[in-house]
């Protein structure tokens, strides 16, 4: 498609175009958010195929409901919320697995230690992907999306306490993995 988007559209123009079902605007909208939303979906999906499925369903919902977006919050935040909800709907059928995680350590990764800065985003995603499904969902929702444990419990159909404990385990596991990775690099 070679539609001429001569200037970078403002968010308002983009919204208007998408509401009018103009394909060049929808394409521009997609281009603007697809990359970031793919990261969101990847964090919840077991593989790239499932992530793209989530992304696809999410964008369909976004385009279907874009007229309902009230320009009070950020557009990206609204799209992200739809993506997360779509991903959660998709994974809701998956049985939550909270088996023990191997390699749990007690080492502590300080935010100021700079270890995380040295790691690439891809590497962090890979480490998150190693978590069993249940842990991964809880970690994503709490640490990245900012849900409370009560909300996580409601959305995933688990106990609130279970959410807390699983998050703690997931966090420790991730920290341990990050440190191990750092040692290997060194």
């Amino acid at each position: 498609m070679w539609a001429n988007i001569k200037h970078r559209m403002t968010e308002e123009e983009l919204l208007k175009g998408c509401i009018e079902e103009r394909q060049e605007c929808q394409r521009e909208f997609y281009k603007r958010f697809a990359g970031k939303m793919m990261v969101v979906c990847t964090r919840y999906a077991k593989d790239k195929l499932e992530a793209e499925d989530m992304l696809q369903d999410g964008f369909i919902k976004v385009f279907d409901n874009i007229g309902k977006f009230k320009q009070e919050g950020s557009l990206e935040g609204w799209v992200r919320r739809i993506m997360v909800n779509t991903a959660l709907n998709k994974i809701r059928t998956n049985k939550m697995k909270f088996e023990d995680i191997d390699g749990m350590g007690s080492q502590f990764v300080d935010g100021d230690s700079g270890i995380l800065d040295k790691l690439s985003e891809e590497a962090i995603l890979k480490i998150i992907a190693q978590l069993p499904n249940g842990y991964r969902y809880v970690f994503n929702m709490f640490a990245i999306e900012g849900f409370t444990h009560r909300e996580i419990a409601e959305k995933l159909g688990i106990e609130e306490a279970s959410s807390r404990s699983q998050y703690a385990k997931a966090r420790k596991y991730l920290q341990n993995q990050i440190i191990q990775l750092e040692h290997i690099k060194l």
Binding site: M1, W2, E21, Q23, E24, Q26, R27, Y30, A34, G35, K36, M38, V39, T42, R43, A51, E52, L55, Q56, F59, I60, F63, D64, F108, V109, D110, G111, D112, L116, D117, L119, E121, E122, I124, L125, F142, A143, I144, A168, R171, Q175
Partner: protein, 492 residues
Amino acid sequence: MTNNKFEKQIQDKLNQYEIEPSENLFDTILEKRAARSKSFFRFSYTKLGIAMLSVLAIAAIIILNQPAGDSVSADANSTIAQSPEVKDTKESMLLENSNGTDGQKPSATKPIHKENDAKSSLSKAKPVNTLSGSSLKDKKIRNNNMNASKLALPAKFVDVTHKQSIAKPSSKSTPTFHDNGDQIAERYFNVDATNRPLIASQIHQGKSHLYIYHTENEEMIASKDLSYLVMKPLSIPVRNFESEQISQIAYHPSDNSFHKKKPIFIDILWMSMLTVHNANGNKAFEADYKTLNRSNYNQSFNARVSFPVSERINIYTGFAICNINTQYTGSIANHSGKVHYETSVHYINDPITGKPTAIQQTDTVQNGPMAYNFRNSYKIMQLPIGLSYNMGYKKFDFAIHGGALLNVLSNAKGTNANFELEQTSRFNSNKKSISLGASLSFMAAYKLNNKLRLIVEPGFQMYKINAQKNGNLMNETIFNNALSIGLRYTLF
């Protein structure tokens, strides 16, 4: 417990990170949305209902508000003039006595014309269209005052079907009587629908019925105080028709709300089309599109309703459901002869290390003409509206239909071709758009029975599809050479 900096750092890192999804995912999204959207038929029914009701209302208003004098066409006048017996007949009436019996001699139920001037042409008139039928034998006829057996026949009709009775009128009684209702009905329907008479007015008194069909000048007739017929009151059973005393029934000129009967035609058609299409609206590619082959076959299903507005003119409307495909095939030599490089990467297991090793291969390729073969597809609901001129010959009805086409595009999908870059991409959109067109066709209908006719209708359509609104780089202009076959049902 938690070190929030850890979460914050992960958040910051991941929120700015992007992963490129598969290239064709956006197209898949559009396709899925198109497939999930409301079906074409549901959409069309809503729109169709509104459109059809509007057209029906307009047609009803036109028909009901037509002045009485309009019902006599020049054609009818000319036909009357051809028959010397009915040359001066300005009105035609049917006086039917329901107690009439088969085989009875026609009685002197001749209309009494009270003329002021004995020399006036009206006084010389020989009303040949006064009929009496023994319709009691026919339940259908008996139950329906408007049945054809009770209809007076217009001069032309009499001329066609009862020429003998007109040419040799009884010396005692001028009116011609037909005592078999079935025969009258048969003869009535044998005439092509456009030439069947219009009933201008009707008066019922007991079992007697007076029908008056189209007149040349109703006001003149009214002013002459004619049309008084006398017959015996029908409360007393009468066995001998000749001995009847006839009471007077006055004729009052009808107002504009008189009842008329003209057939309404309902046509169901299947149309096969040879479509020739032009892509336009984007000058960069117009010339390239024209070098490709641009014709293919399509089909559509049509329903059409025709309402009479005058003797030979009908107004028609309806709808058609079309799936128009526009196929483009051929090759374009824009970059023919130029050189480009094609790079491919293969992986082999290194025989020494045993690890996979990438082998990059670059080929120099000379361009040949680029071959294209792609098709665009449009779902269209057509709402035609127009006029038809009707003719008849023996068992054939003919009509010329001409009018406008309102095209409602509900889905467009296909391929965009960028001949400059030698690339193609897909588009798929449910965006609705409306465009106008025109159609012209010639219909021949063969009478199968009184209600059904077989239609063959060659024709031509031209309309534009505003495909650019649906993501196509080009608009398309469609030229359809069409041949329709179908059935015509006559609603009377």
